[in-house]
Symmetry: C2
DNA sequence: CTCTACATGTAATAAGTTACATGATTGC
DNA sequence: GCAATCATGTAACTTATTACATGTAGAG
């Protein structure tokens, strides 16, 4: 899924500007499994408009700002998106500095490992809260979106639990060595 | 973490060739949270050797092939890696076509959704098996690596359970509509 | 009036992926 | 002899990221 399909996905739910699309990937429902920056969104929107997969919607005269481009998906865009949605998904790609670092835990200062895990737990807490509240305003609507949200929460919860229950295994065992 | 640091991480555990490093990211302990291809590994090794962070080890005369370059980490390399390991980790990056697609589940053919989830469950089964066996031969050694392996298994298990327990929520409810 | 959030866009850069090109070794 | 795996490397391509550049609107 490249930035173009991602944008189509957002626009299928409702018309939005480039800025608003960005926000959906930063705070909204797509936050947890995709990330995209302006540098990829704006060029993507340009290409989509060129190919008539989206168009600039007539600006609503509710006093919105005039420099804002509200894009909406076209029929061709809907078809293009559906095509992408039913084709075989690429496998997930994860890049986790956290796990990479932790896999060398025994060679690191114990305090550093402690802090790393504390920060991670804090991260899970925050995001679980945010996910709980991610509601209609953000486009967290529909069976699919809710299912995915539940999935994310289940995974984060399990991750946090594992960290809490097993973090002591990473502690250096000073006393033990003496008895050897 | 770029390809260079990743390579240093592999080489810290034991000397390896570019090909073997690749395998660690494809099958080995780093499999689940990082991915890297030849096109990034070989240039990374070249750069690391140029900077004296790794060197070509004397070939063991056990009859190995002569075109194989066994790299080992140098002291400077160890320091460079440690520096990277104690600096603040970048946040995880996940890109999941699976979740993106599922978030539109209600607009997709039910059969497609079914198949998607079946494939995913199969994926979890396979990888949980592989992770259970990922042992010493592969460099799954040490507290850190084992902790990370356990973490991965906990997360995959939770993900699979969620899918199994909640997949029915994605089924279209034909009967219900009639009573409305 | 000032800060934050809204808003769009480009250019330089960095990075990794894919496909290509080649060849040796091992097991059957 | 043949296929699979081991093994190294490059070039073209695609892609996204970062930093830059600019300006508006609303809240306090």
């Amino acid at each position: 899924m490249d930035a173009r399909i991602l944008c189509l996905g957002v626009l299928l739910r409702k018309p939005a500007s480039g800025y608003e699309i960005r926000k959906q990937f930063e705070e909204g429902p797509f936050n947890h499994f995709y990330d995209t920056s302006y540098g990829s969104i704006y060029p993507a929107l340009k290409a989509l408009e060129r190919d008539a997969l989206i168009r600039v919607a007539a600006l609503p005269d509710d006093g919105g700002r005039t420099d804002k481009k509200l894009y909406e998906i076209t029929q061709a865009g809907r078809e293009k998106l559906m095509e992408a949605l039913v084709s075989a998904p690429e496998r997930d790609k994860l890049r986790s500095d956290f796990l990479f670092i932790l896999s060398f835990a025994e060679m690191l200062p114990p305090r550093h490992v402690e802090r790393l895990i504390d920060q991670r737990l804090e991260f899970y807490r925050e995001h679980l809260n945010a996910m709980q509240e991610c509601a209609a305003e953000n486009g967290c609507t529909g069976k699919g979106a809710e299912f995915v949200r539940g999935f994310g929460m289940a995974v984060y919860t399990a991750a946090a639990e594992y960290l809490e229950e097993h973090r002591d295994e990473l502690e250096p065992e000073e006393a033990e060595a003496e008895h050897a």
